[in-house]
Each structure stands twice: as structure tokens, then as C-alpha cells.
């Protein structure tokens, strides 16, 4: 396994050790180890059905693991009490693949919902913050009273990102943030993630298939194959790797198209 030589100097915010998870007799994650460091953008790749989303959902507690430990901000999520879990959950935000906006609430209510539940703020401040978050993700106040079903795909992703950022989390999990967006929209979204990451000092855990995203925004890439993390490191390490799957992925036909864009 490709270990980062300087890993012990960095602050580990998510520590996955020896995790096994699966459905029925089908084991998806087979003794997975992974570290995510503070302030980095980690791109998490792997073939379709390799279990990228399963690992993300295991970390955030939607899927129960069978074995192993997951520590987030040093809290062992398996052994944590409900109060400790909630304290951690308040510090992360999640962008689901389909947005998962509450369909019966307006955009503004969607953004205010987590803030209203956790903090006791005035309606005026809630409204102003909702608009501020919308502007941060490149929208404006005119979408406030729209319902999620009235938004386009790109707008849904942006609103969902704004909701993930509502409580100023330290980690954001992004599940295929650019899937279903056109190349211009996807490029804008990449820039947006990079900007927000810089301004808010976020740690980003991004499940993606988008080679452009990997080239432009990711500091480090982790690769999941055969139920294990087979490699983790910056883009250069990936490109230099001799592993057949990595070669196929990063030197395939589509990769060659993506490569010149970073130069």
C-alpha cells in the first residue's frame, strides 16, 4: 500500500482501519484502511460497484460495518455515545448524489433547516445566512422560494452543497458532485469546490469518476479496487503507478483527453 511518507506530520481527521462491510454474503469492503488529512481534497475513485459510496456511507454511519474502526476527529464512531456522535455529525456536511433536498420545503427552508435545529438564531439572521450561502455556491436570492422540483440539475447540486455547508462544517463528503452536469457546469463546480475549500478551510472527501475533477481540485487520490484501497497519493503517483487497473484508469482513452486541460 502506498503510504504517505509525511503522514505522521499531518493531522488525521478521518481514520479508517481494517473495515469490513457488505450486504448479505457479498463483502464489498474487505479490510480497508484509509486516512484523510485536515485541509486536503481527497478524490476517491474506483470502478462502478467497487464500493466507493459504500465506504462513504459507512464512514457517515448509514451502513453498519462488520469489523474495524472508524475515527472521525479522533472519536471512535463505533464506540461513541449518541451525544458524541451528534457532536461529530454537526461538524460534517454531506452532498448526496441526487441532492437529497427535502422536496416539501423551499430552497431557503432547506438551507435554514439544519441551522434552525442546532442553533437558536433570529429569523432575520437565518434568512441572511441562507442568502449568503446561496451566493457562495454561485446562486442568488431569487431561488429562495423555489421548490427542489423546480430546479435544474446543476442548481440542485449547488443548493445541496449550500445545505451541506449550512453549519460551517469542517469536513464535507461529496458523492459524485459533478455527475449529471455538463462539462462547463462540472468545471464551474470544481472551481467552486476549490474556492470554498480555500475560503472555509474545508476537508473534502470526494467520491468521483470525473478525471477533470481529479486533475484540477484533488490534492490526493485514493483508489478502491477488489475491496481494498490499492493506492493513495497525489496525481503524479497515480500516473507513475504500474498497477494495471490504475494504468487503465489514468492512461485510458478518456484520461488522455483530460490530461492536457491541466497544463
Amino acid at each position: 500500500m502506498a503510504q504517505q511518507p509525511k503522514s505522521n506530520r499531518k493531522d488525521v481527521v478521518i481514520e479508517v482501519r481494517d473495515v469490513v462491510a457488505g450486504f448479505g454474503s457479498h463483502v464489498v469492503l474487505n479490510h480497508v484502511d484509509l486516512d484523510v488529512y485536515r485541509g486536503e481534497v481527497l478524490g476517491f475513485v474506483g470502478g462502478s460497484g467497487a464500493g466507493k459510496s459504500v465506504l462513504m456511507r459507512t464512514i457517515i454511519g448509514l451502513i453498519h460495518k462488520r469489523q474495524g474502526t472508524i475515527k472521525v476527529f479522533g472519536t471512535d464512531m463505533g464506540a461513541a455515545t449518541d451525544a458524541e456522535r451528534r457532536a461529530v455529525e454537526r461538524r460534517w456536511g454531506i452532498l448526496f448524489q441526487q441532492g437529497a433536498l427535502f422536496s416539501s420545503l423551499t430552497v431557503k427552508e432547506n438551507l435554514e433547516f439544519p441551522v434552525r435545529e442546532y442553533l437558536n438564531l433570529s429569523q432575520r439572521l437565518l434568512d441572511e445566512l441562507a442568502v449568503a450561502k446561496l451566493e457562495m455556491v454561485g446562486l442568488d436570492a431569487s431561488v429562495c422560494d423555489k421548490f427542489p422540483s423546480e430546479l435544474s440539475g446543476g442548481m440542485t447540486k449547488r443548493v445541496a452543497l449550500a445545505r451541506a455547508l449550512a453549519l460551517d462544517p469542517e469536513i464535507v463528503f461529496l458523492d459524485e458532485p459533478t455527475s449529471g452536469l455538463d462539462p462547463i457546469g462540472a468545471g464551474d463546480f470544481d472551481t467552486l469546490i476549490a474556492t470554498l475549500q480555500r475560503t472555509l478551510g474545508l476537508t473534502v472527501f470526494m467520491v468521483t469518476h470525473d478525471l477533470d475533477s481529479l486533475h484540477t481540485v484533488c490534492d490526493r487520490i485514493a483508489v478502491l479496487a477488489d475491496g481494498k484501497v490499492i493506492a493513495a497519493g497525489p496525481m503524479e503517483t497515480m500516473l507513475a503507478s504500474e498497477h494495471p487497473w490504475l494504468k487503465a484508469y489514468f492512461h485510458g482513452k478518456r484520461a488522455r483527453l483530460a490530461e492536457p486541460s491541466r497544463k
Binding site: 422536496s103 416539501s104 441551522v115 442546532y118 442553533l119 437558536n120 438564531l121 433570529s122 439572521l125 434568512d127 441572511e128 445566512l129 442568502v131 449568503a132 450561502k133 451566493e135 457562495m136 442568488d140 436570492a141 431569487s142 429562495c144 422560494d145 421548490f147 427542489p148 422540483s149 423546480e150 455547508l165 453549519l167 460551517d168 474556492t195 480555500r198 475560503t199 472555509l200 478551510g201
Partner: protein, 376 residues
């Protein structure tokens, strides 16, 4: 805990504010009051210096509140300086500095106008829902004619599947409920008729009431609640997932593929259920007459034979397919009216059940007038 997130010092027309502590989400409520207080108290200040060097942390909440403070001072025309802000937070401050609040849509304050508007919207929606029921009914008739011209295009398998769902699987619950209704009517009849020594007329009452009215009405209401709601939910979620659009683009008519088999299944199923339900109700009535009223089954049957004629039975059975048609059309109209949200699916399903039960009862009343006037 440091309560002083913002320290004020006024020197004549110049105001010095010193920030401290963590300007983060957790303290946002407290910070908001202190900021508004500072802005209100020092309305006369000409020059404001805000020293941000003392803060430990700043997030979007704190950054926005600082921006709000700066804006409230500059709006009054006083010169505002922010100093000592760490370089890390510069990008965040730039971000919130660009936030424009003017575009925020304001909610209407006039509640009377709002109430009038919602009444208007409701009336229009009643009108459109009647129009769309008529519209779909027409579309179903057209599809039916087309299918009659090409009988092979009828979705027979689909109809049998629906028939299994709406009729066969409904048999136990329909039998149980109508049986109980029959029992209750007979018991109530016996209890009150006994005072006049007219026990035996209970048989007339149970026979006529069940066969003419109650059998078909109970079955139609049960089917509206059981199958109408299922139709609405199925078609609604198909609409939400664009399955209906997919069908249409493949050159299929959703009315012919989805709706016609469903309505046909109801039109076949409801009369069968009505027959079974009426029999169960008569059985329940007879059982109570025997066990509770002491009327022997032989006497019950011979009395029943005298009390009812074939047309009593016909009246009930003629109504059944029309009830089925109403329930089916309303359920499909409401299903197709579902919009993107989960809430809308719930609303349309409720509307489907309420409307179809209402229309079934109205139709029953119209039939009562009709049969009375032709002497049936």
C-alpha cells in the same frame, strides 16, 4: 466563558470596537444581539474602527455578522475601518462582502388578500380537476375505441394482474366487512322492530337495503380506499420518475398501456365484489336473525323470497360498474397530477380517495332518483 465578543469604547464621534472570542456558529445568537446593540447605541458615531485582532476563530456566521455591522454603519454614512483581520479570513470576508440581499423575495404581509387568493386558487383547482376528470374520461373512451378496432393491442396480461390485485386479493376483507355490516343492520332492526312486534320485517329491510344500496356502496368505498389510492400512488411515482414520459417517447399511449387495463380491471372486479359482498351481508343478517332474533333460516329464506324481486338485485349490480369507472378515472387523474415532491404524492393520494368516495355517493343519489322515476 468570555461573554465580551465585542467591546465598545466611544471617544467623542469616534467609536472603537474590539472583537474577541470565537466568532462562530455556536456564539452566533449572542453575537447578533451584541452587534445590533452596538449599531443602535452608537447611531451618532462618525468614524468606526473595528479591531478584529483579538478573535480566535471566524466562520461564515461570524463573517456575515461582521459584514452586517459594517453595512449598518456605512449605510448611515459613517466611515468604517476593519483592522487586524488575519490573512486566512480575507477570502471569506470578500465572499460575504459580495452578498446582495435586495433580491430576496418578501412574503406578502396582507393576510386578507392571502386568504382571498387561496379561496380563489381552491375554486379554480376544483374547476380544473372536474375538467381533467372529463378529459381523461374522454381519452379513455378514445383508447377503448382504438383497442376495440385492434383487440390484440389490449394489455390483457396487465389487466389480469390488476384484477388479481383489486378483486381477488380484496375478497377476504370485503367479505369480512360486508358480513359485519349485515350483522349490525339485522341486530339494530331486530332491536327496534321488536317494540312493534314486527320482527319479521327485518328480513325485508336487510334484503332491500343490502341488495339495492349498501352492498355496492360499501364495496365502492372500500375499493376507493384500497385500490384507488394504490392506483394514484403507482401512477404518481411513475410520473415523478419520468416513466410515463419514457412510455410516451417510445410511441406508447400511457392511457392505453397503464390506465385502460386498470380501469377495465375495476369495472370487472367491482361487480364481482359487490355480488360477493351482498351475499356475505345477507348471510350475516340471516345469522343474526337466527341467533339473536329467533327467526329460523327457513323462515328467513322464504320471507326474503317474498321481500325482494330480481330487480332489487339488478339495481345494485347495475350501479357497480359505474362506481368502478368513477373510482378508476378519479384515481388515474389524481395520479397523473402528481408533481415532483413527496408531499404532492401524498396530497394527490388523499384527494383521490376523498373525491372518489364523494362522487360515488353523489352517483348513488342520482341512481336512486333515476330508478325511482322509472319505477324499478
Amino acid at each position: 466563558m468570555s461573554d465580551t465578543l465585542l467591546d465598545e469604547k466611544a471617544e467623542g464621534e469616534q467609536l472603537k470596537l474590539a472583537a474577541g472570542g470565537a466568532w462562530v456558529a455556536k456564539n452566533a445568537a449572542m453575537l447578533e444581539t451584541q452587534i445590533d446593540h452596538a449599531a443602535r447605541q452608537n447611531a451618532g458615531a462618525k468614524r468606526v474602527d473595528i479591531d478584529m485582532a483579538g478573535i480566535q476563530r471566524l466562520d461564515t456566521f461570524g463573517a456575515w455578522l461582521l459584514e452586517r455591522l459594517v453595512r449598518s454603519f456605512t449605510a448611515r454614512g459613517c466611515q468604517t475601518n476593519v483592522t487586524g483581520l488575519a490573512e486566512d479570513y480575507r477570502a471569506l470576508m470578500d465572499e460575504v462582502h459580495n452578498v446582495k440581499l435586495d433580491a430576496m423575495p418578501h412574503r406578502r404581509a396582507n393576510s386578507l388578500a392571502y386568504a382571498m387568493e387561496s379561496i380563489g386558487i381552491t375554486m379554480v383547482s376544483v374547476g380544473t380537476s372536474i375538467a381533467s376528470i372529463v378529459n381523461l374520461f374522454g381519452a379513455v373512451v378514445v383508447a377503448l375505441l382504438r383497442v376495440m378496432a385492434h383487440p390484440r393491442s389490449f394489455r390483457f396480461t396487465s389487466m389480469v394482474h390488476q384484477l388479481d390485485n383489486v378483486a381477488w386479493r380484496a375478497v377476504p376483507i370485503i367479505l369480512l366487512i360486508t358480513f359485519l355490516i349485515g350483522c349490525i343492520i339485522a341486530q339494530q332492526g331486530l332491536f327496534h322492530f321488536r317494540k312493534f312486534g314486527a320482527d319479521v320485517y327485518v328480513v325485508d329491510m336487510v334484503g332491500i337495503l343490502v341488495l339495492r344500496e349498501l352492498g355496492v356502496l360499501i364495496v365502492a368505498i372500500m375499493v376507493a380506499g384500497r385500490s384507488g389510492s394504490a392506483y394514484t400512488a403507482e401512477l404518481g411515482s411513475m410520473k415523478m420518475r419520468e416513466e410515463i414520459d419514457a412510455l410516451r417517447t417510445m410511441g406508447f399511449d400511457p392511457i392505453e398501456v397503464l390506465i385502460l387495463p386498470r380501469i377495465a380491471a375495476l369495472i370487472i372486479g367491482v361487480p364481482i365484489l359487490t355480488f360477493l359482498g351482498s351475499m356475505a351481508a345477507l348471510y350475516g343478517g340471516g345469522l343474526v336473525c337466527w341467533l339473536y332474533g329467533g327467526i329460523d333460516p327457513d323462515i328467513f329464506l322464504s320471507r326474503l323470497k317474498e321481500a325482494i324481486a330480481l330487480n332489487t338485485f339488478q339495481v345494485g349490480m347495475i350501479k357497480a360498474p359505474f362506481m368502478a369507472l368513477i373510482v378508476g378515472v378519479v384515481a388515474c387523474v389524481e395520479g397523473l397530477a402528481v408533481k415532483g415532491s413527496a408531499e404532492s404524492l401524498g396530497l394527490q393520494t388523499t384527494a383521490s380517495v376523498v373525491e372518489s368516495i364523494f362522487l360515488v355517493i353523489v352517483l348513488d343519489g342520482l341512481f336512486a332518483i333515476f330508478f325511482a322515476s322509472i319505477g324499478m
